[in-house]
């Protein structure tokens, strides 16, 4: 049994979510190949080769993979799928984008967002915004799976595995990247942060969102997150959204500021180790999941908290 894990990267740096997917592959058991598809991405292949548990890295280095478009990436994976019992990718925006395409071309189901490996054909995945956990069994010849990062401890470093070049498939030529607007931030990435300070509609404006939350995040070395309401209102960029349809996070400390705690938000953060809620409404549902709840006006409480942490 050999498992293929598709690496996520930006041609320069391997994304940490790849390590969680490799950890899930290790739980399934068998040899683990990692596919690195990109352009001028040899450094990524070398990083992937040093991850514990990896048997071999397959490097498809060609112009048509530079932007990781779903059409070309899926075609490459499908062309090389025959050797594998399982094909895994992180359940990130990128993984969710191309992997269902792979599954359909192979005429198999995709098992989305697994949080547990029960056996090589049986997995647990959340449904209904995490209000239920389904145990599903696949009879398909190849199991195509996306992995929820927070559910698997990232694989560490190991002995270097061999890197083999893989020929690219033809360019489909039906999609082209025009440009990206990426949020530049010195902060840790949301899904990898130890601490997250997250703000909701109560922040009231983009200016407040930054002026109130950032000093606290700076002091704690935290990433900044947001509720959907805060993103929709333009207080924070879209990729700050935590929840059922945003990012799934599980930091050691999650501080929810002016967030009511709708089930769609809880779906993205209730696996955090310690949850703090600051909300002026004592009945806010967020308090039902908070380890420490502070009923207060955030505009007083957050500056006071900042001052009290040395």
């Amino acid at each position: 049994m050999t498992i293929l894990v598709i690496a996520e990267h930006d041609n320069a740096v391997l994304k940490p979510a790849t390590r969680n997917a490799i950890a899930a592959a290790a739980r399934i058991g068998g040899d683990i190949d990692v596919l690195v598809a990109g352009a001028a991405c040899a450094a990524v292949a070398e990083a992937a080769a040093r991850i514990a548990g990896v048997t071999r890295v397959r490097l498809a280095d060609a112009a048509q993979y530079a932007d990781h478009g779903a059409e070309n990436l899926a075609a490459l994976v499908v062309a090389n799928a025959a050797a594998y019992s399982h094909i895994l990718a992180p359940a990130t925006a990128a993984g969710k984008n191309f992997l269902p395409r792979v599954a359909a071309l192979l005429d198999v189901a995709q098992i989305s967002d697994i949080v547990e490996v029960v056996s090589p054909d049986t997995f647990v995945r959340p449904i209904y915004a995490g209000n239920a956990l389904a145990t599903v069994q696949s009879a398909d010849a190849v199991k195509v799976i996306t992995v929820r990062g927070t559910a698997f401890e990232p694989a560490g470093e190991g002995a270097a595995a061999p890197i083999e070049a893989l020929a690219g498939a033809a360019d489909a030529g039906i999609s082209r990247l025009v440009g990206r607007e990426l949020t530049v931030s010195a902060r840790p990435e949301l899904t990898a942060a130890r601490v997250i300070v997250s703000g909701g509609r109560a922040l009231g404006s983009n200016e407040n969102f930054h002026a109130v939350l950032e000093p606290l995040a700076d002091k704690l070395g935290a990433a900044v997150g947001a509720s959907r309401a805060a993103v929709d209102a333009g207080y924070a960029p879209n990729d700050y959204q935590v929840g059922q349809t945003g990012k799934i996070v599980a930091p050691e400390l999650y501080i929810a500021v002016g967030i009511s705690g709708a089930i769609q938000h809880l779906a993205g953060m209730k696996e955090s180790k310690v949850i703090v809620a600051i909300n002026k409404d004592p009945e806010a549902p967020i308090f039902q999941v908070a380890d420490y709840g502070l009923v207060a006006d955030l505009f007083d409480a957050v500056p006071a908290l900042l001052a009290a942490i040395d």
């Binding site: 779903a70 059409e71 899926a74 925006a93 990128a94 969710k96 984008n97 992997l99 269902p100 395409r101 792979v102 599954a103 359909a104 005429d107 198999v108 189901a109 995709q110 989305s112 959340p126 449904i127 209904y128 915004a129 209000n131 239920a132 389904a134 145990t135 599903v136 069994q137 696949s138 009879a139 398909d140 039906i174 999609s175 990247l177 990206r180 607007e181 990426l182 949020t183 899904t191 601490v195 959907r228 929709d232 960029p237 879209n238 990729d239 059922q244 349809t245 400390l253 209730k270 310690v274 949850i275 308090f287 999941v289 380890d291 420490y292 709840g293 009923v295 409480a301 006071a304 009290a308």
Partner: protein
Amino acid sequence: MKILVPVKRVIDYNVKVRVKSDGSGVDLANVKMSMNPFDEVAIEEAVRLKEAGIASEVVAVSAGVAACQETLRTAMALGADRSILIVTDEELQPLAVAKLLKAVCDKEAPQMVIPGKQAIDDDANQTGQMLAALLGWPQATFASKVVVNADKTGAAVTREIDGGLETIEISLPAVVTTDLRLNEPRYATLPNIMKAKKKPLETTTPEALGVDVKPRLKTLKVAEPAKRAGGVKVADVAALVDKLKNEAKVI
């Protein structure tokens, strides 16, 4: 150009889901059902493209039990011109839905299909991508902006990705899946609800479309997740800092 919008009937997003005690699934008896919220965004986008003179016709499609026709009536009240119901009592998984939609596309030849990015019941986030694959079309998932080229042979789509936004140019026909920021869906007005009752709703079946919808995944059990132990309320900021330092030891 014709736009096809797949709409799914799901448990309303406000309903607190309950897992059945026998572990066979969640309790759907007597709970409010609605159109998947991402599909409301999809209908809105298609209708706006029609109002802008870019699309000529908006066709809503739903697959599932007979009651899905309510969802289709809602779609038509929101502006879809007609709809197609693929009726079946079988459990439908994303690959099966994608195959059904492909069969409909083969007949209808739309220039664009706009599914939601994710159904809020199965949280699969697969159907649109699978449909694009089966059709051999390009895909633009998680769209927050769609601009169709003047000659309608392509579109520029801005996508919500990890880290920010990206814009891609795709050739048409294509599949575009909606994210929350694409637009703010309108409400159906009473006159439009009345008008929708007279709009055409065609019914077909998986058999008639020649699609095998047998589920590929078997659900062995559905369980409730572990509950978080309730926490405490702290009196003030000083007490909070004390707890975080000395009890939780996280700062």
